[in-house]
C-alpha cells in the first residue's frame, strides 16, 4: 500500500504566470508547504487575501516528524477549519511513565482541566496535518478563494526591495520570475530564504542528534508516553516511546552530538537498538528512520522589511516539549490577521513589528524551556548529573521531587505581557485572561467560547452593556454578549470574571486579549482598538 507521503499531492502544472511578459505581482507569497506555510496560506485566504504557496516538492512530508499537537494549536486549527479531523484521527493520551536506568520511577496523569473543547494534546503524524491543510486549500479554492499551491517551484533567488520582493523560481519547465508585496518564509530550519538573504541564525545554545523511528508493531503497548533517562539500551542518553494512529509507534533515541549519522541510520545498527528497547520477542517493522539534528537558536529579528520568517526558519528548539510545529502555528496565527489589516490599508505596516516582539518572546520562552529540559536530560557536568540522578531517585518514593523531573515541558501558549498592542489591565480579574493572554476556552450553553470568537475583533461582554458593533479607524468590532446567569457553567465566571460582577474584553482576531475592563467605556475601548492595531 502506498503511504500518504508517497503520492504527489500538489503536482507541478504550468501556470500562466510562467508565460507572462514580465513577472506577475502577487499580494502574498509563502515559501514552503509545511504545516506553518500551509496554515498561513489558509488563514490569509479565509481573510480574503490572495496568496500563492511555493514548494520545491509536491507532496506532504515523509515520516511522522512533528507528532504532538497541543491544545492551543488545535484551537488555531479549529479556526482554520482543520481541528476536528485532526482530533478525530489523532491519539489522545493522559498517562506518562518515567523510567530511570532499569526501573520505572513514577507515572503521572496530565489530568487536563475540564471545560475545553480541545484536549491537552493529540499525537498525529505531521503528514496528516499537511494533508488536512491541503484539503482545506482545495475547499477554499472551490469556494472561490484566491489561494494556490505550486508544487516543484523552487525559489532560487530573492531580491528584497523596500516596496516588494522579486523571486526567481525554477520549475520542471525552466525558470520564471514572480513578485510579491509580502513574502512569508516558512522554509524550515535550513531556510534557503534566510541563506539567500544572508541573514544570520544567531544564539546557538547547543546541538544534539536523535534517531527517530516510526515502527509498526504487533505489540500492545498502552496509549501512554514513556520516557527513559539513562536506560540500559541507550546508556547516558534518553529515549521516548509514543503512540500514533495506524498502529505506528514513534521512538526517539537521543544519540549525543558527536556521532556518525550515516552509520547510525543503517538498519543493522537501528534494529538491535530497538530490539533492546522493545524486547527481543516483539515483532516490528521499520516504517521510517531519520537522524534529526537540532540546534537551539533563533533569528535576531523575524521581520526583515517585506520578508517575514515564521516557524523553524525563524527559530529552532530541541524536540523536548513539542515546541516546533506548535510554536510555528502560533507564529502564523499571530502574523496573518496583522498582515491582512496592513494589506487592506486598515493598519500601518508597523503593526507587523508587534509580530516580531510577540513571537520573539514566544521563541525565547520555548528556547528557555527547551534548554532547561536538555540540561536535565543531558547533564553537562558531574555535579549536574549527581543532582539529576538524585531528583530521579527521590521521585520514585517522594511526590515532591516529581515536578523537578524534566523530560520536556509540554508546549503552552505564550502570554504576551508587555506587548505594544495591550492596553493596561483595568480589571482585577483572573491572571490567565489578562491582556496578552490567549483566551481560555469555556463551555457555553451552545458550544464552546472559542468557536464563538472566530477570527475577527470581538468585544466580549459578560453581564455588561455595550454597542453591538463598534467601528473605529476602519476596524469593525462585533460584540459577543454573554451572561453568567444564562450560562449554567461556572468556567466562564472562573476564567473571565473572578470576583467581578461584570467584565468587557477586547479580543484580537488571534483570540488573544487586547484589553479588559469591568464595564464598557466608549473612549477607552476605542483607544484600545487603535492600540491593538498599531495606531497608538
Amino acid at each position: 500500500m502506498n503511504k500518504i507521503f508517497e503520492e504527489p499531492m500538489y503536482p507541478y502544472s504550468r501556470h500562466a504566470d510562467q508565460d507572462a511578459a514580465r513577472p506577475v505581482r502577487h499580494k502574498v507569497v509563502v515559501i514552503g508547504a509545511g504545516p506553518v506555510g500551509l496554515a498561513a496560506a489558509v488563514d490569509l485566504a479565509q481573510q480574503g487575501v490572495a496568496v500563492v504557496v511555493l514548494d520545491d516538492n509536491d507532496r506532504v512530508s515523509t515520516g511522522s516528524r512533528a507528532i504532538c499537537f497541543a491544545k492551543r494549536p488545535l484551537e488555531i486549527l479549529d479556526r482554520l477549519g482543520c481541528g476536528q479531523p485532526m482530533v478525530d484521527k489523532g491519539v489522545q493520551w493522559n498517562v506518562g511513565k518515567v523510567f530511570f536506568d532499569e526501573r520505572q520511577v513514577y507515572e503521572f496523569n496530565l489530568l487536563p482541566e475540564d471545560g475545553h473543547k480541545r484536549p491537552a494534546f493529540i499525537n498525529l503524524q505531521q503528514y496528516y496535518l499537511e494533508a488536512q491543510l491541503v484539503e482545506r486549500i482545495r475547499e477554499l479554492q472551490q469556494q472561490g478563494a484566491q489561494i494556490e499551491i505550486r508544487g516543484r517551484n523552487k525559489v532560487t533567488e530573492i531580491d528584497a526591495q523596500p516596496d516588494h520582493v522579486a523571486l526567481e523560481i525554477d520549475t520542471p519547465d525552466g525558470p520564471y520570475g514572480l513578485e510579491a508585496d509580502w513574502l512569508i518564509a516558512c522554509d524550515g530550519a535550513s531556510s534557503p530564504t534566510r541563506r539567500m538573504l544572508g541573514l544570520d541564525f544567531v544564539g546557538r545554545v547547543f546541538e544534539d542528534n536523535f534517531l527517530i523511528a516510526d515502527v509498526v508493531m504487533e505489540a500492545d503497548f498502552p496509549t501512554e508516553r514513556w520516557f527513559w533517562f539513562d536506560p540500559p539500551f541507550n546508556r547516558g542518553q534518553s529515549a521516548l516511546l509514543h503512540k500514533q494512529p495506524d498502529g505506528v509507534w514513534r521512538i526517539d533515541l537521543q544519540l549525543g552530538w558527536d556521532i556518525d549519522k550515516e552509520r547510525e541510520k543503517r538498519p543493522e545498527n537501528v534494529i538491535p537498538r530497538l530490539k533492546a528497547m522493545l524486547g527481543e520477542e516483539v515483532e516490528f517493522q521499520l516504517e521510517w528512520v531519520s537522524i534529526y539534528t537540532f540546534q537551539c537558536r533563533r533569528m535576531e529579528k523575524f521581520r526583515h522589511g517585506r520578508v517575514i520568517f515564521a516557524g523553524d526558519s525563524a527559530h529552532q528548539v530541541s524536540p523536548f516539549g513539542a515546541r516546533g510545529a506548535n510554536s510555528g502555528l502560533q507564529d502564523s496565527d499571530n502574523l496573518c490577521w496583522k498582515l491582512a489589516l496592513v494589506l487592506d490599508g486598515k493598519a500601518p505596516d508597523s503593526l507587523l513589528d508587534s509580530y516580531d516582539a510577540e513571537r520573539i518572546q514566544g521563541a525565547d520562552e520555548n528556547i528557555l524551556n527547551s534548554s532547561r529540559s536538555t540540561d536535565f536530560i543531558t547533564p553537562k557536568s558531574e555535579m549536574s548529573r549527581i543532582l539529576r540522578d538524585a531528583v530521579l531517585d527521590l521521585s520514585e518514593h517522594h511526590p515532591f521531587a516529581r515536578p523537578l523531573v524534566n523530560s520536556g515541558r509540554l508546549s503552552v501558549p505564550c502570554i504576551h505581557d508587555g506587548s505594544p498592542l495591550n492596553s493596561a489591565d483595568a480589571l482585577d480579574g483572573p491572571a490567565r485572561s489578562r491582556p496578552g493572554a490567549p483566551c481560555p476556552d469555556a463551555p457555553l450553553d451552545d458550544g464552546f467560547l472559542l468557536d464563538h470568537l472566530g477570527g475577527e475583533f470581538i468585544l466580549l461582554t459578560i453581564n455588561a452593556d455595550a454597542p453591538d458593533l463598534i467601528q473605529e479607524a476602519g476596524i469593525s468590532v462585533r460584540r459577543l454578549a454573554l451572561s453568567t446567569q444564562a450560562n449554567t457553567h461556572s468556567a466562564l465566571k472562573e476564567r473571565y470574571l473572578g470576583d467581578n460582577a461584570s467584565a468587557v474584553y477586547l479580543i484580537r482576531p488571534d483570540q488573544h486579549v487586547a484589553a479588559r475592563r469591568p464595564s464598557y467605556d466608549d473612549n477607552l475601548i476605542r483607544q484600545a482598538i487603535r492600540r491593538a492595531t498599531g495606531k497608538e
Binding site: A390, V391, D393, H398, F400, A401
Partner: protein
C-alpha cells in the same frame, strides 16, 4: 515575632553536636559517589521543605564560597 522573610544565619539547631554527628553518620561507609548522591538528595529534600524561593535564593548565596 518570627522573621520568615530572611534566611536564618544565627544558631537555630538544638543539639548542634548531635545533628552534626547524625550528618556524619549518614555518610558512614559510603563511597565518594554514594556520599555525593546522598548530599544531593539531602539538599533537594531540605529545599523542598523550605519551599520559599526567596529563602532558597538567600541560602544559595550564603553557601557560595564568595558571597557578594
Amino acid at each position: 515575632m518570627e522573621d520568615t522573610d530572611h534566611l536564618i544565619l544565627t544558631p537555630n539547631i538544638d543539639g548542634a553536636d548531635d545533628f552534626y554527628a547524625d550528618l556524619l553518620a549518614a555518610h558512614d561507609g559510603l563511597s565518594k559517589a554514594e556520599s555525593d548522591a546522598l548530599n544531593a538528595r539531602l539538599v533537594l529534600v531540605l529545599a523542598n521543605h523550605i519551599g520559599d524561593r526567596s529563602i532558597l535564593k538567600q541560602a544559595l548565596k550564603a553557601a557560595a564560597r564568595h558571597p557578594q
